[in-house]
Symmetry: C2
Subunit: 325 residues, 2 copies
């Protein structure tokens, strides 16, 4: 086990370079100087080996996913990344190579998404590797997107494709041997290295009435928007955007797989609601950003999320969404 000071000096301090408030990671805390007229957005996600990622997953990918799931929370609020704190609980038998690869994944994504390590804590654990990240972002004051602003009649829109996360989880667990290697690799990559929709989140801030990221599953996260806004939601199953891999999986497993795709977690796409008159503008925006954006349903009076098939009949869904419990 490397010493905490060795870890800081060799592995983490390089990730904090160029951020004066990180104080070289040598202080008790870090200093963030907010830009005038901005609100700070703060979010925290934990990942446990064997629960949120296989214990033998490449450490580089674990680092990337940890950062990306937090960036996805910032994206859902329309925020710009600022910095992050990192907490790591490491088993005694950990080696520097694991940590170096983990930090390598973080370094790649720091550069990709414009965010910097500012501090953290590293401790020992008799349990599995447990990583915790707190991400900071900012938005113009008062402009954070939330789950609670949806209005009756809003159109529901989703970015990217839905259901790849749970498919990738299956591939990671050696399911889906009948899928092609290409579709297996695509799904696994979507599960391991999700794409936080930061640019889209920032650009829809002035258009969307509400937004969430799809971490618990499309149905559950749309349900969160509904309950926070005091509304229900109706989704047309045929309109939910699916990847080629998910369509191939449906061909193999049959339509009974569809509820699993709509309820599975870890997609890290955005689901958001806009006034009907804003739909075209959002579609143009998606085109401009190179992000697929699809209209999938509408917000209605009432409560709960209903998914309708081609004939307009409700599809029975697993209760609730994806849960790590």
């Amino acid at each position: 086990m490397p010493s905490e000071f060795q870890m800081i000096a060799e592995i983490f301090a390089p990730l904090a370079e160029g951020f004066p408030g990180a104080l070289g990671l040598l202080d008790d805390a870090a200093v963030l100087t907010p830009r005038p007229g901005r609100d700070l957005i703060v979010t925290k996600d934990l990942m446990v080996a064997g629960v949120h990622f296989p214990a033998d997953d490449p450490a580089r990918l674990v680092g990337k996913k940890l950062l990306r799931v937090n960036l996805s929370d910032l994206a859902a609020m329309g925020a710009h990344p600022v910095g992050y704190l990192l907490g790591i609980a490491l088993p005694e038998n950990s080696d520097l190579a694991w940590l170096k690869a983990f930090a390598g994944g973080l370094a790649e994504d720091q550069a990709a998404f414009g965010i910097t390590l500012v501090g953290g804590d590293t401790v020992a654990t008799p349990g599995p590797v447990t990583v915790s990240l707190t991400a900071f972002g900012d938005v113009p004051a008062g402009e954070a997107l939330t789950r609670s602003g949806a209005r009756e009649g809003d159109q529901i829109m989703a970015s990217g494709t839905i259901g790849d996360g749970v498919l990738g989880l299956g591939v990671a667990s050696d399911d889906w041997g009948q899928l092609t290697e290409t579709h297996r690799a695509y799904s696994l990559n979507r599960f391991q290295v999700p794409e936080p929709r930061l640019a889209l989140g920032q650009r829809i801030r002035s258009l969307a009435h509400s937004a969430a990221d799809v971490s618990d599953g499309l149905i559950a996260d749309l349900g969160h928007i509904g309950s926070a806004s005091g509304l229900g939601a109706v989704v047309q199953a045929v309109d939910v955007p699916l990847s080629d891999a998910a369509r191939a999986a449906l061909d193999i497993a049959g339509q009974s797989l569809l509820p699993d795709l709509l309820s599975g977690g870890d997609d890290y796409e955005l689901v958001f609601t806009v006034a009907p008159g804003s739909v075209d503008q959002v579609l143009s925006l998606g085109h401009e950003l190179g992000v697929r954006v699809t209209k999938i349903g509408r917000m209605v009076a009432g409560k709960g999320v209903q998914v309708l098939d081609d004939a307009g009949s409700p599809i029975v869904l697993p209760s609730g969404g994806y849960s790590h419990f």
Copy 2:
């Protein structure tokens, strides 16, 4: 295992009441609106059952200590508490009673220290209870106390008493049976429920050149100030403030215990440096706040921390300080 939504609604949402940016803990992230002209101070500490606290410690005290060790980091920077994010990894067999007691400890200390829960994450783990807290504080822009500002000739001062943390750790491990029950209870309480020196930290902001909290041990944390400031430190052992319990332990174990007290962690006192001309003002401030403040040494050219006995001879110290590895 209670569901995450049940935990949020029943246990955590009450801790976030009165903080609009917490969004009722129902959103992807929380919104902090910085006060104009203030820097934000951010810090994160993890605690693992069986490593940082005995697994059978009362949950209420675990909650209090987790919050207090983070508040101590804010105190070392001279910050005012603002809010915090909470991360919990819970074993599958956890029950609501543990969580309720844990949250009860947090609620007591939220009221005591003026800080509010704003968000977080709760996950399952096959390992021990692992808790992670990110605390936010603020200071007037540019006024954060750091470890790097010490000047040659500065007087070194410490709050409270030193060594009680490691003594309390011993008591928690059933050592120190020869101490009186009063001294055992005192030490255990110091270890389990440390006192973050927030008021002192805020008031010395304009007087101190550098500061740290004593989490790794007086010698190690003073060493951090020295290395961050490019200086050495000389401490007079006889001047280091000890509690009655620590003096009783020295009477029992002999002077060979002294280096352990000076190197033990978990005291959560402040160690800081001031110009010689400011010492009297700091002593008055301590008197006003009811916090013992003691002059224990001075910053010198060179590097490392030297502790001198009554005769002016160096005392041999365990290398480095307290480490959780």
